[in-house]
Point group: C2
Chain length 358, copies 2
């Protein structure tokens, strides 16, 4: 969108710790909060009216803020944290690296549903990283003991049909996946309960004493330009201003090229995603996830990550990291065009997994 997103900050701006002491999240720039609410209204992917917004240093920090907000030091034992396998590979480390007595990683939510007991938190990642599926909580009979965190990082129209405005207790989003600005480390939570929002803000205060105001302002600017595009479009029919149509088109083309090669060489399968009605576009559309979740066809024992690295020098992430078998491997589809093209060219040279790289 050219220079419309260009950000200018003078030397004396944004110097204080404080953005607004009347807000529970006192380190959040009012312009950022306003932009987040406007963006969700334009996209229709989350209910924001009568909800609290909490800004974080990426959704990574907000995940940990939510764990802190949902537990308390008085508890008899660490609360179990679970997510349905294949689950996002960073959840285990982000939960356990500080050896907290408040919570501990307890693995696959399906297993916990069968055999687990006691208080727990289920993380629902939808669309799911790594496999792109739209998900709901899997642990049944939650009662008072179960709490939910919804990680909706990829619930944006370039990746998935927007099937309804999400409306959950804690919903985490990130600038990184909405517009691609990972380097700014900006995320936000949409939170129903005031006390939970307060505790998440308290966590961020103790963890980093706030969130970069430079990046909050930049995110507000970029989101504002994005939303302006949709408002201008309605008045002037300038469809090149439409961010999600543009990015969705790129994702659709990448998936088409990827599926052709995967079907031709018969070494992997990819998940099939049902078309669903998208409230944002008003059409039946197909999901185009940010990752290819490849499954080796040839046998249970194939280490797909190892074979890809050995045979075509492509770095994926093994299924083991996501709590499933190593015949699965996750490949990012969000690289630049040159890297993506190179990936497809190398992938097309693979003829068989068992004869490669061993």
């Amino acid at each position: 969108m050219g220079d419309r997103c260009t950000m200018v900050i003078s030397g004396s701006q944004l110097m204080s710790y404080i953005s607004d002491f009347t807000n529970i999240c006192w380190f959040m720039e009012p312009e950022f909060e306003e932009a987040v609410r406007r963006l969700h209204c334009v996209v229709g992917n989350a209910v924001v009216d009568d909800r609290y917004i909490v800004v974080g240093t990426g959704s990574t920090q907000l995940y940990q803020a939510a764990l802190y907000a949902l537990t308390s030091p008085g508890g008899p034992e660490p609360v179990s944290v679970v997510s349905a396998a294949p689950y996002y590979s960073s959840y285990p480390d982000e939960t356990d690296y500080l050896c907290s007595r408040l919570y501990k990683w307890a693995g696959d939510a399906y297993e916990f549903d069968k055999n687990g007991t006691g208080p727990y938190i289920e993380v629902v990642n939808s669309p799911n990283n790594p496999d792109g599926t739209l998900r709901e909580a899997v642990v049944k009979n939650r009662g008072d003991e179960g709490k939910l965190i919804h990680d909706l990082a990829y619930y944006w129209p370039q990746y998935t049909p927007i099937i309804r405005p999400a409306d959950h207790d804690i919903m985490n989003f990130t600038f990184s996946k909405s517009t691609g600005h990972a380097g700014s480390r900006i995320g936000w939570a949409v939170v129903k309960d005031k006390e939970i929002a307060r505790r998440m803000s308290k966590f961020i205060e103790m963890s980093t004493l706030g969130v970069s105001k430079d990046s909050q302002q930049r995110a507000a600017k970029v989101m504002g330009v994005l939303c302006d595009g949709y408002q201008n479009c309605k008045s002037a029919n300038k469809s090149d201003d439409l961010f999600f149509e543009h990015t969705r088109q790129i994702m659709a083309e990448r998936w088409e090229r990827l599926r052709q090669i995967v079907e031709r060489n018969q070494v992997f399968c990819l998940p099939k995603y049902p078309k669903q009605y998208c409230l944002f576009s008003g059409e039946l559309i197909e999901p185009y996830p940010g990752f290819a979740w490849l499954e080796a066809k040839e046998g249970e024992e194939i280490d797909s990550q190892k074979v890809l690295r050995g045979s075509i020098k492509v770095q994926g992430r093994t299924g083991r990291r996501f709590g499933v078998a190593e015949k699965y491997v996750r490949i990012s589809l969000l690289s630049n065009e040159e890297v993506f093209k190179e990936f497809l060219e190398r992938l097309s040279t693979i003829k068989s997994m068992s004869s490669n790289g061993h």
Copy 2:
């Protein structure tokens, strides 16, 4: 410095998680590292040659990164974390909020030196927040069981004589206190040991998956302009370009006005700081700390915070929060001129602590 510090970021810049995969701290912008090294060379307040730099989301995050780097999950019990009272009031909370099994807050380092046992980490805050003193480690006979973190947030020429280039294992600094840009949440550690730098970087990866690149670039720009001032000065004698001389002058004036009032009304005492030779200015100079550490003269039981709030509506932080008696109170001297002037005017109306606010 007018618009020389103005930062411009286009919509498509700084989007990646990654800054430099060949650096241990792979999310650190090379321009930021270069600016940090240059700044320390200009000021002479820390040894940076053959040291690793780790960027953090403020020194708050780097303090926690250092605790993580200096402990390990295999340990039999939490490592004791201590600092000499009066200690920075956020250390206890930042150490204990996640109830880690790796480390726990154990209070005053003088007490630990007398009665403590087992592995420990001493945080040396110099100049010290709240009382402005230059400090060294106080726990003796460290042996293999003791580790040090040096929090040098205020070790800059506007606050203190630079008595030597600091040369410790882990030294934390912050953009917030060096130039006043607290809102950017940028800090850095200067680290001797490669493995410690690696573990601190790993902590930041798990905590926030990196540090805002917008703010890193802005910090690099501001530090660069500051350093340019000193280089231009040498060639053209433009002393209005000299950041530390300008800010030191403001601090000196504030302290002079503050001491006059405190001496006149005889209700509080302020610490006396010895003049020391400053390597940066080449003169014998007095410290001008960022906080007034006020002690009520009239009796041990006075709650100075309460009296100040009740009688003149000034919000300080009680000595209790710093591990000492409530006759002490800390007041920030880093507000804007209007607020500072108002503070002095109110302070000058106090005649006696025991007759006020009760």
